[in-house]
């Protein structure tokens, strides 16, 4: 696996890359590369047939250093703006799953013209009344000494499938995977453990800033981030399409890899980034909105 290491203000950020062509920045979740496995999943491989998939590991995950300065989602969003600078991704399509989707949405709200297209898969990040995000940390504590059935049930529609058990084995299985889970939780604790629990109340309003196409993709039976969050994202993003996949839980990219990859390929394949033209058009229609306000 092609992997390189960026140095962001003295800290290592591991970046995996696969495929050729238009770059696609992929921000991972828990049941994912860097979150539960060192390898690409079939879903990523399918995407890589059409795109250059670039997948950085979140701070503390996989080969990325932990970052003591990350205490809120805001800190993480700025971390990723720096990662995008380092990767020279000035105009790029972004996909994110779970917390990775939350980060992608935050980036889209902060730097909307930099992101050509946005795909969110089971993304946390929004507050939806009476539809709380499931308690990942509680389920990351074993039952009866060794069992992580509850954790897998948050991640997948079928908690006991071979894939589910391989990615999140009970204790006594694979120490390397258990350690990946620990690192993921260590990362996630920094942005999600303290209230607010995996959401930013201000994000929903800010998403109106992102006027490029968005795809909101959800497993209809998502037990971690309830389906109402998908509707909330689709409502808040001005140019969003919502796709739900029946019979699937929180991880369509694992549970329905082919279908999810196809939907994403179709969505991103339609994007022929002509950033300059688009930005000029935007600048004309929005008058004072300056395309150079990033100041980079």
């Amino acid at each position: 696996m092609a992997q390189r290491t960026l140095n962001i203000r003295g800290r290592k950020v591991a970046v995996a890359e696969l495929g050729k062509g238009t770059p696609l920045l992929y921000l991972h979740g828990f049941a994912d590369i860097h979150g539960a496995t060192a390898d690409w999943l079939p879903f990523h491989r399918a995407l890589a047939e059409r795109f250059r998939v670039i997948a950085p590991a979140h701070p503390a995950c996989a080969g990325s250093d932990e970052d003591e300065d990350i205490e809120t989602i805001d800190d993480l969003a700025f971390h990723y703006l720096e990662v995008m600078d380092a990767l020279k991704l000035d105009h790029v399509a972004v996909a994110g799953a779970c917390v990775g989707g939350w980060v992608a949405a935050e980036l889209a709200a902060r730097d909307p013209e930099r992101i050509t297209r946005l795909a969110l898969i089971g993304a946390s990040g929004l507050y939806v009344q009476d539809r709380p995000i499931g308690d990942l940390f509680w389920e990351a504590q074993p039952s009866n000494g060794t069992e992580f059935h509850g954790f897998r049930a948050l991640m997948f529609g079928d908690a006991e499938s071979a894939t589910a058990r391989a990615l999140f084995p009970d204790r006594g299985g694979d120490i390397a995977r258990e350690l990946m889970r620990y690192k993921s939780m260590r990362f996630a604790s920094r942005i999600g453990f303290a209230p607010p629990y995996f959401y930013n109340r201000k994000l929903r309003g800010r998403l109106a800033r992102f006027r490029n196409p968005a795809l909101v993709l959800w497993g209809a039976n998502d037990a971690l981030v309830p389906l109402d969050h998908a509707r909330a994202y689709a409502d808040a993003l001005p140019k969003a399409k919502l796709k739900t996949i029946a019979g699937i839980g929180h991880s369509p990219h694992v549970e329905a890899a082919d279908q999810t990859a196809k939907l994403l390929t179709g969505f991103f394949g339609g994007a022929k980034p002509k950033p300059r033209a688009r930005r000029k058009a935007r600048a004309r229609t929005r008058g004072s909105a300056s395309p150079s306000r990033r100041g980079r």
Binding site: A60, E66, E68, E71, L136, F137, W138, E139, A140, Q141, P142, S143, N144, G145, T146, D170, R171, G172, I175, E178, L179, R181, Y182, K183, S184, M185, R186, S189, R190, F193, A194, P195, Y197
Partner: protein
């Protein structure tokens, strides 16, 4: 020479759980439904527990120990400072050890500095100030992210110590608790400040922080044996690294004891309380069954490197203390010492001899144990176990730590039994 210091620790368990609690509920912590709280039966419960501690002073114990827990049946002291305040009015000699306030759970460390200063002042300088980080259940109870907790914790401790030792007003510019006006009233009674005790579970990081500041270490393990000695040796090494000198009173351990006239009687009398404690109070904490909240990926308080060590060195699904089914299994944990005065004396003496630890914090009340049994056990301990332990430990420590000051040189540490 100073003899071993004997403390009486009360956890204040909830004693009125239904008989089928273990079958019906997967934890005694955080989510244990408080519909089980009985408003009538609990009339006078705190009074009884406070009375037991006051009785501890009467029996000549050197100190009384309290700690902080939330939303659980194991310990009904969300604020140990309230019980400590009550004890200042019921006692006149014993140390009051709060072990400790869970600093990351407090919005502002000043509040802890102030309340501890009040307790020290109200007790005439009898407070031993403990600071703890709060384990897994407390992380869930107060939504405390664990990766940041350690840094917040040590900043809070350093700030509190400054409030006690430096004249205010001063400014604190730490990253977690920046404060423009630090100027507490009252100040604590003791100078330069109340003794500071820090609990730890063997981690070198914690021992390092404790030793570098010259504080005392409390090993929070409930099981004893060779690991206790290893902890003492490790802490002694680390103290030495910072230019200090280890002696037995730099460290404390938690013990649990039930004493009766004979071994048989001790087992018989304590069975109900002890197994209620193991099965119910430790469920969700030190039991395999149910949901263990104490440590794990959901509350990732230790570094990734430490966790890797843990994964490599621990046996998945191994039984824990609370899983002990009978006295024989329980005995293997070296956790709860049950027996006649002679049995208890011999077992505790071999631990003191082996580990050379000078502060023994002893739990006498377990779960739903009847108050009269806990009191009887305390009395037999004070009359028939403590004198020999004190005499022999003073001699032992005198031989092994000749630099220790002679007894009586620090009036606050003298104890009545030794003087009598």
């Amino acid at each position: 020479m100073r003899p071993v210091q004997l403390f009486c620790w009360h956890f204040m368990a909830y004693p009125y759980l239904p008989d089928d609690f273990d079958e019906k509920y997967d934890t005694g912590w955080v989510t244990v439904p408080n519909s089980l709280w009985d408003r009538e039966k609990t009339d006078g419960l705190y009074q009884e527990y406070i009375d037991q501690l006051a009785y501890g002073e009467e029996l000549g114990f050197d100190g009384l120990v309290l700690n902080e827990h939330h939303q659980n049946i194991y310990g009904l002291m969300p604020s140990p400072n309230i019980i400590a305040a009550a004890l200042t009015q019921r006692t006149s000699r014993a140390k009051i050890v709060v072990l400790g306030n869970l600093l990351p759970l407090h919005l502002n460390p000043l509040r802890v500095a102030e309340e501890y200063a009040m307790i020290d002042s109200m007790s005439g300088g009898r407070l031993i100030a403990g600071f703890a980080m709060g384990g897994g259940p407390e992380a869930f109870n107060y939504d405390i992210p664990q990766p940041q907790a350690r840094a917040r914790y040590w900043e809070a401790i350093d700030l509190i110590k400054r409030t006690w030792t430096e004249d205010g007003p001063f400014r604190h510019d730490g990253p977690h608790y920046p404060l423009r006006y630090v100027n507490i009233w009252p100040k604590p009674r003791q100078t330069p400040h109340p003794p500071i005790w820090i609990p730890g579970a063997l981690s070198i990081e914690t021992m390092d922080e404790v030793a570098s500041r010259g504080y005392d270490y409390f090993l929070s393990s409930r099981s004893h044996g060779s690991a206790t000695q290893r902890a003492a040796l490790r802490f002694a090494d680390i103290i030495k690294k910072y230019g200090g000198t280890f002696h037995p009173f730099r460290m404390g351990i938690l013990l649990s004891v039930y004493v009766s006239e004979t071994d048989e009687q001790a087992y018989e009398e304590s069975r109900e309380g002890v197994f209620y404690f193991l099965k119910n109070c430790l469920k969700g904490h030190l039991r395999k069954e149910g949901r263990t909240l104490t440590f794990g990926a959901g509350v990732p308080s230790t570094s990734v490197a430490s966790w890797e060590q843990y994964l490599k060195n621990s046996e998945p699904g191994a039984a824990m203390l609370g899983d002990a089914k009978d006295w024989k299994e329980l005995d293997e944990w070296g956790s709860i010492t049950v027996g006649s005065p002679k049995t208890v004396r011999d077992k505790l003496w071999s631990l003191i001899e082996q580990a050379q630890v000078g502060n023994l914090m002893i739990q006498f009340h377990f779960g739903n144990m009847k108050p009269e049994l806990a009191r009887k056990s305390m009395r037999l301990f004070a009359e028939e176990v403590a004198p020999a332990l004190r005499r022999d430990s003073a001699a032992l420590f005198g031989r092994n730590f000749p630099q220790l000051e002679p007894a009586g040189s620090t009036p606050l540490l003298s104890n009545r039994s030794a003087a009598e």
